[in-house]
């Protein structure tokens, strides 16, 4: 009887949480008709926002992969002075309000700063440009890949790494042939989370890149812009597309990981 009550309570509380997610989605998906929705995607500005969003977010994933995996490996496997500070620093963007991130990047890269002036003098303009969007998104979303990859590296049996060393492998060989393949699910998970976070990034991007239609307007900026100017149809269309993409990619990823786990990760 007690178990029944407990399970009932757990189900009810979980149900409330699911409603918190489902009701707003329901409101969004019933706000427009399918024909109206299809019409919105003929607008070149909306198509451009979609293209910019995908271009920048996928570039962010690649950049995070190249820069984040080594950082994750460093934090997971090495002991060095100041490691805790570095670890906290890497996590900081997750806690920082995106607007603050945007402001910081604006101050660093803007023409009035020495660094910004230095870059500008060499023809590199990051403010109000797509590279600026990438920087802002990388700053905000990159830590997700690092966190996930780090956990994956840490989960690998230490003796497996030692076995590789005792068999004569160099650290790089062990990293390439043992650690990367074993951590790949964690890295994939980090890539998906980074991509989803970058795709949905708004605050930092708006501060650094502004909202120039066809040039720096991403999907989230477009949703905000259209909603503010009363064009709710366009705003809803982009929002729905964003949700469909995020949900589908997460679902595909999760089912793929679940299928892979028994054959590669267990011992």
């Amino acid at each position: 009887m007690r178990n029944l009550l407990f399970n009932l309570m757990i189900s009810m509380l979980s149900g409330i949480f699911i409603c918190l997610i489902l009701f707003p989605l329901f409101a969004l998906f019933t706000a427009t008709s399918w024909s109206e929705l299809a019409g919105q995607f003929k607008s070149p500005l909306i198509v451009s926002a979609i293209i910019i969003s995908f271009q920048t977010s996928l570039t962010v994933v690649l950049a995070a992969l190249v820069l984040g995996v080594p950082m994750a490996y460093l934090l997971a496997t090495k002991k060095f002075p100041g490691k805790e500070i570095l670890d906290t620093l890497v996590d900081l963007p997750i806690c920082m309000p995106p607007l603050v991130v945007g402001l910081a990047l604006l101050l660093l890269l803007g023409g009035e700063s020495k660094f910004g002036a230095f870059l500008s003098g060499r023809g590199v303009d990051l403010i109000f440009s797509r590279p600026g969007i990438i920087m802002a998104q990388l700053f905000v979303a990159g830590p997700f890949l690092i966190k996930s990859s780090r956990q994956a590296f840490e989960a690998i049996n230490e003796n497996v790494t030692k076995a590789s060393s005792s068999l004569g492998a160099s650290e790089f060989h062990t990293f390439r042939k043992v650690l990367l393949p074993l951590a790949r699910n964690g890295i994939y998970a980090g890539m998906v989370m980074t991509w989803a976070r970058a795709l949905g990034e708004f605050g930092a991007t708006s501060m650094v890149a502004g909202c120039i239609p066809g040039k720096t307007e991403t999907m989230t900026l477009a949703i905000f812009g259209y909603a503010m100017s009363g064009e709710m149809g366009s705003s809803i269309a982009i929002a729905m597309l964003l949700i469909v993409f995020s949900f589908t990619s997460l679902l595909v990823f999760k089912s793929r990981i679940r299928k892979q786990l028994p054959s590669t990760q267990r011992i």
Partner: protein, 389 residues
């Protein structure tokens, strides 16, 4: 290749794990490191393999100081307690790993592995992943993965701790066979005394980062130097004794363990360390104890005390019996065929003087003239009877 450890010390977070450790393992020797968990055994093999750097001291293999060499250049093979197979690689790729690191041609690797896989009966499993293998198969793969690289020294870190008894016996026989054929210098880590006694040419007992005793199995069992070693090899009868008298052959010892209602005298062989009036710990080998119902004199030169059977536990073909001697718990190992007593029954406990051995912290040998059991023509029984049985 012989192995020598010189003054090896290692601490983790200020806690010493190995302290000034010296060890010499002869070329071709099968050496067992025996000790309880947390005693530093794994750290020691890790230091030899080069996976852990000692704080001070040096490791010599074949007379060459390898302390600063990376693991791959020491020619040391290490088999881990949990096998540490690469979970994303199948059996073939696991075994081939070390050969590929050495950049052997694939054709050569295939040829070499074919021979080994057939010999170990793993041919059918060569495309199987580690999680699909049994414990024994995993162990064979781990061993093979190390052996194919042709190391000069083999380190086995509790390789059979998670195997069932039958598989353990099989693998144990295979290890002996491999060692006989390859004559590879081997260090085998275990906390299992039975494994140590059956496999080792010599055994080092490691306790709290220090080697308490290095001996052949026979010597270690019959001449433990310390109380820890005695208890670890299964001798739980530690008697606190005071030397009451000595003659050329024998010593009379006054036993006064804590909890004993009344001190009593025992006869032991005379060892050079016995000095009248000195206190010393003795161990009494449980398998050298006889039990009888009647107070009959025996020709073992002996000790006879009476007590009560307090407990009896079943261990295959023997009983482990606890006898209460006036508050002192004495442990005996009695073959089932000779045991016809009831629990709580009064019994006479007999043992010869050579069943007692001093735990003096160093190698205690009895003097030459008394090594063979000295027959006493009319033994005067020494002991105390708690009851009138």
């Amino acid at each position: 290749m012989d192995i020598a450890l010189r003054q090896i010390s290692k601490s983790y977070d200020g806690r010493p794990v190995l302290e000034n450790l010296d060890l010499d393992v002869a070329a071709g020797e099968f050496h067992v490191l025996l000790g309880p968990s947390g005693g530093g055994k794994t750290t020691m093999v890790s230091v030899i393999a080069g996976l852990t750097k000692a704080d001070i001291g040096s490791v010599l293999i074949g007379g060459r100081d390898v302390s600063l060499l990376p693991p791959g250049r020491r020619k040391v093979g290490l088999v881990f307690q949990d096998y540490a197979l690469f979970p994303h690689l199948d059996v073939f790729d696991n075994i081939a790993y070390g050969l590929r690191v050495r950049k052997l041609r694939e054709a050569k690797i295939a040829q070499k592995l074919k021979y080994y896989l057939e010999k170990t009966g793993l041919e059918k499993e060569k495309h199987t992943f580690p999680h699909q293998l049994s414990g024994g198969q995993k162990q064979r793969v781990a061993l093979l993965r190390t052996l194919v690289t042709e190391p000069e020294v083999l380190l086995l870190d509790e390789p059979m701790s998670s195997l069932d008894v039958l598989t353990r016996e099989q693998i144990s026989a295979e290890l002996v066979n491999i060692h006989r054929k390859t004559e590879l210098t081997t260090i085998y880590v275990t906390h299992n005394q039975a494994e140590a006694f059956s496999l080792g040419d010599r055994i080092s007992v490691l306790h709290n980062g220090k080697i308490e005793q290095i001996e052949t199995p026979e010597e270690l069992f019959y001449h433990p130097k310390t109380e820890f070693v005695a208890r670890f090899v299964g001798i739980n009868n530690i008697l606190k004794a005071k030397v009451a008298a000595t003659n050329r052959y024998e010593a009379v010892m006054e036993i006064n363990n804590e909890g004993l209602s009344q001190a009593f005298m025992l006869r032991a062989k005379n060892y050079p360390v016995f000095k009248k009036g000195e206190e010393i710990n003795l161990c009494l080998h449980p398998e050298k104890i006889d039990l009888s119902k009647k107070n009959e004199a025996r020709d073992n030169g002996g000790n006879r005390i009476c007590g009560k059977i307090a407990e009896r536990t079943n261990h295959g073909n023997v009983f482990k019996v606890t006898i209460d001697i006036g508050g002192l718990a004495l442990h005996a190992v009695i073959p089932k065929s000779l045991f016809n007593f009831q629990v709580y029954e009064d019994v006479w406990v007999d043992f010869a003087p050579d069943a007692l051995h001093p735990l003096c912290g160093r190698r205690c040998r009895e003097p030459e003239f008394s090594r063979k059991c000295h027959n006493i023509s009319s033994p005067e029984l020494v002991g105390v009877c708690r009851t009138d049985a």
